[in-house]
Symmetry: C2
Subunit: 390 residues, 2 copies
């Protein structure tokens, strides 16, 4: 088990070092929790120095008690300079920092440890490497997908007439947690915030949000304007459930739609159009498919359906139909019109064609998929039709 873990980590280091070498970097200093986790299999307070030509050194501040031959306890980042000089480790002439994650002042502080080093942005290398999942990571995502599916299958039993969107959300959150959800929802970048996910119904589905999630909702309070807003689930409306599934440190994404009683024809039509978008995208999604082709195909089918005005939002539209997933909910590839990403074997992504029908709610589908050599594998498996509640 420890051997397997070491092999897994070593493969990750090798993959990153190949990219570092291409970019002319001698070393990389990693400090963000998600990348510490990716490079070491654990979250700690400290820094990892990954040289292009050797195993990483783990500089740990907290917790106490981590052992390992390349583990070095430090009080502060500046202690790294002394360690390098005392141990005859050569200072990198060019150093990668996570310049899309570290703050401006953190960058200055880390750069000052290695005066004279040229600093290169390491974030794209880390995100690109992380976008291709290993068999171990894919298995973590499959496990998350199975737990996620199990909870979604309980949703009809959680519904009670007269409950609000927020109350239904709370019961789903509880079942997610009871089935192993860690709760935490990791997002790359600082501008997107959400608590586990969202339940959207009726007119609230069309409330525009500041966040770059696919759909909006007003939220319960101006301090977190996204998702459920306390609307009572009313006969004839749809209820869209889009909750993150983080059961393993790796997040799956899945959306399912319910109706309170029977909803309008246009909602069923739009839902079928979303399923058709998913079906036809799955025919082209494989190693080598440009991400933008997937987006464009989705838009073409939405246009064919005559429902384009509702596609990916009505009052405000999202500019993508899917996104990579992993330790964070928004990894490469992004399935958007100007994306330069190309699908590769080992990529895992969420595809979420959705429509917002004013005053009725949102419909559509979201599933998580793995691109494999033998085809595309769906890892979120709850029933896809609109399920009637009550």
């Amino acid at each position: 088990m420890i051997d397997n873990k070491q092999i897994e980590l070593k493969t990750r280091w090798d993959n990153i070092r190949r990219e570092m070498e291409k970019a002319g970097a001698d070393g990389m200093l990693v400090t963000s929790n998600v990348n510490l986790y990716y490079l070491s299999g654990r979250v700690f307070s400290g820094l990892i120095y990954l040289p292009v030509d050797n195993d990483p050194i783990f500089f740990v501040r907290r917790p106490v008690g981590i052992s390992g031959e390349r583990v070095v306890y430090i009080r502060k980042p500046e202690d790294i300079a002394a360690y390098f000089s005392e141990n005859g480790i050569k200072t990198p002439s060019s150093l990668m920092l996570e310049d899309d994650s570290v703050t401006f002042n953190e960058h200055l502080r880390y750069a000052a440890i290695f005066p004279g080093s040229k600093i290169i942005n390491g974030t794209p290398v880390l995100r690109h490497t992380r976008s291709i999942k290993s068999p171990y990571e894919i298995e973590q995502l499959r496990i998350s997908g199975r737990c996620h599916t199990k909870v979604y299958e309980m949703i009809p039993a959680l519904y009670r007439p007269g409950m609000t969107d927020n109350e239904l959300s709370i019961e789903i959150e509880r079942q997610l947690r009871l089935n192993g959800s860690l709760g935490i929802f990791r997002v790359f970048g600082q501008s997107m915030e959400i608590f586990i996910g969202s339940v959207l119904t009726g007119a609230n589905a069309d409330n525009p949000s500041p966040y770059d999630f696919a759909l909006g909702g007003a939220g319960m309070n101006g301090s977190i304007p996204i998702g459920a807003n306390g609307t009572v689930l009313e006969e004839g409306t749809t209820v869209m459930v889009d909750m993150g599934g983080n059961f393993t440190g790796y997040m799956t994404d899945m959306t399912r739609v319910f109706s309170v009683g029977i909803t309008e024809d246009i909602a069923y039509q739009a839902h079928d159009a979303a399923l058709e978008i998913q079906r036809r995208i799955l025919e082209i999604a494989r190693e080598g498919t440009p991400a933008k082709d997937i987006y464009n195909l989705a838009v073409d089918i939405a246009n064919e359906s005559g429902l384009a005005e509702y596609f990916m939002g009505f009052t405000q539209k999202a500019g993508f139909v899917g996104h990579g997933i992993g330790i964070e909910i928004n990894e490469p590839p992004v399935l958007a019109p100007r994306s330069k990403d190309v699908l590769r074997n080992g990529m895992v992504f969420a595809l979420e064609p959705k429509f917002v029908i004013p005053n009725i709610g949102a419909v559509g589908i979201e599933n998580s998929f793995v691109i494999t050599e033998s085809g595309i594998e769906q890892i979120t498996l709850a029933p896809e039709k609109i399920i009637q509640l009550g």
Copy 2:
């Protein structure tokens, strides 16, 4: 209501501008969600430019539909430069950016909008200003405190023999949410992560964590090593509940301790010592008290009690006994030995003297307090003794 909101916001702008003037800044560009919320009363995707001598301009990317005379829709931050030149707004000769929040690359991007501007770190000004709460903000914290208290009073009824720490946590989370918790837990800085809070029992209370929270716990998964780890609540152990209360966009912090049946004498003694620390700190906590004096008094009383080895952790100790709270859980003042903070009227802080007794669990207390001209006000009010479960 709108008038009151405008007066509230204008006071905040004035307070910040006073600090900007002292620091020689002509303008400040704010982009983080918490500070956008503080300066505008809402979260949006965009930027606020606050000149030292005028009202702010709100540059909004999303959502659609925000109106107001100083609201300007932009596609990207660079559009601000054109707006300045078209409207004859003078470029700041010195500009504050949130250099402890924005990433290195965001800093470069924002700085490039104002070529020639000297950049000054605005984060300390924002954090300092936010640390003194207005009557409106104190009322939001009081509301959070009342909801938080109500849920904590339900905890004995949520307990079932044989349940795990995580299962109890899930039932408390559900009650928090049903009583209005927004769920989201905002932390300043990127290194601390937690899902709502923690429940610690038995040996797990002494598991060291990487995070700078007061206590640790192994967590349920290596990707988020904090809090409950699935330990069954056993006769004779303590159960410490420390969950964030975010009911209004402003967070209260409260910890209460329960025992499964009767616990050990040492646990009751340590709990009493924590209550004594709280009592004696409340005698000195007022406008003008140095934050470090509070920390030192806590340590002195812990020493007097003969239980110093358990104070603020056993295997690993936290280096503080309290922290400011507000929109984020870790605002100034920090109650730590080398803190330069001084208590001021309007400050709101959590005081959390705690002890970890190996194999038994954690004991102690945490409450949220407001420093007012007429004395210190406790806003989290659940009973403070160890309550027996079952």
